[in-house]
């Protein structure tokens, strides 16, 4: 049940954000600070989504070589930086995860 409520709520929120400035009357201006801050939302939020999965183990930060998620994440970052292809990054990350967990 929660899934369907989430679906409906997410659909409404996402549409409201997408259509926001297209539906506002023409004379309404965008606040200057919001206009400056919005470009930083994608790198900030997207990083916040992966950082815990890669850096935390059992709820605690783990920067040891035994953290295979950290190693695979580092490989994925390097691949994403070099090639900028989503699919290649994911394949490289998954392959590294299996490799590092086999090694350790």
């Amino acid at each position: 049940m929660t899934v369907w409520l989430a679906l409906a709520g997410m659909a409404l929120i996402t549409f409201a954000l997408r259509a926001s400035f297209l539906l506002l009357p023409p004379h309404v201006e965008t606040p200057a600070l919001l206009r400056r801050a919005l470009p930083f939302v994608p790198p900030a939020v997207l990083t916040a989504l992966w950082a815990p999965e890669v850096l935390l183990r059992g709820g605690e930060p783990d920067f040891s070589v035994g953290n295979e998620h950290l190693l695979a994440g580092a490989v994925a970052i390097a691949v994403a930086w070099r090639w900028r292809r989503t699919f290649v990054t994911i394949i490289a990350g998954l392959a590294s995860l299996h490799l590092f967990s086999w090694l350790t």
Binding site: T2, A6, R18, V45, A72, A80, G93
Partner: protein, 207 residues
């Protein structure tokens, strides 16, 4: 296509039913927020926090709609709603690039709707295939890790300058430090510190 496929697989691997993933894709049509909410829902996060996380993840669409406003802001309401529904990272990326070169192009709407509908169709097919396929793949493949990997792949290309890097680092640090906050408040907190860091590092030096 691959990213739609990955999204479908990652959602199902996170523990959401294939049918819910497919319908969510049609109604929400925003990959990052769909993967994140599949993870949050599977870990029992309250509905309100799933919606708050969605709002922050998709806040970038607000920026896109501001980008499109000069081109489509005066169309009839129905067209503006359709344009709004098709707003997505790659649709806006392709269109904004073209509109910058062809400022007075009379066929902007046709171009946007053409690009948007093709990307939409390919995306939906990808998610559906991924969701159906993902349900049959063994857990030993550890495909749930495809979700953070997809976010890495999406976030890294944004790091073009110091301010973008500062936004990403501040958000990453915040989400780790605030990890123990209840209700996954760490995500909105990270969004806010990231925005603040980005604004701070992009300020113009005083003359």
């Amino acid at each position: 296509m691959p990213f739609g496929l990955v999204t479908g697989v990652a959602m199902v691997a996170s523990g959401i039913a294939p049918l819910a993933a497919i319908l969510m894709s049609v109604f929400v049509f925003a990959g990052a927020s769909m993967i994140a909410s599949a993870q949050l829902l599977a870990s029992g996060t309250p509905l309100v926090m799933v919606l708050l996380a969605t709002a922050f993840i998709n806040l970038r669409f607000m920026m896109y709609s501001a980008t499109l406003r000069p081109h489509f802001g005066r169309l009839p309401l129905g067209w503006r709603m359709l344009v709004g529904y098709l707003v997505a990272d790659n649709v806006v990326g392709l269109s904004a690039g073209r509109f910058a070169d062809h400022r007075e192009d009379p066929a902007k709407l046709e171009f946007f709707l053409g690009v948007g509908s093709v990307i939409w169709l390919v995306w939906q097919a990808g998610v559906a295939a991924g969701a159906l396929l993902g349900a049959g793949l063994p857990a030993s493949w550890r495909l749930e890790f495809a979700a953070p990997l997809a976010f890495i792949a999406m976030s890294v290309p944004f790091i073009r300058d110091r301010a973008m890097l500062a936004a990403a680092l501040a958000a990453g640090l915040t989400v780790i430090l605030a990890h123990d906050l209840p209700l996954r408040l760490s995500i909105p907190a990270a969004a806010l510190t990231g925005m603040a860091a980005g604004v701070w590092f992009s300020r113009r030096p005083k003359p």
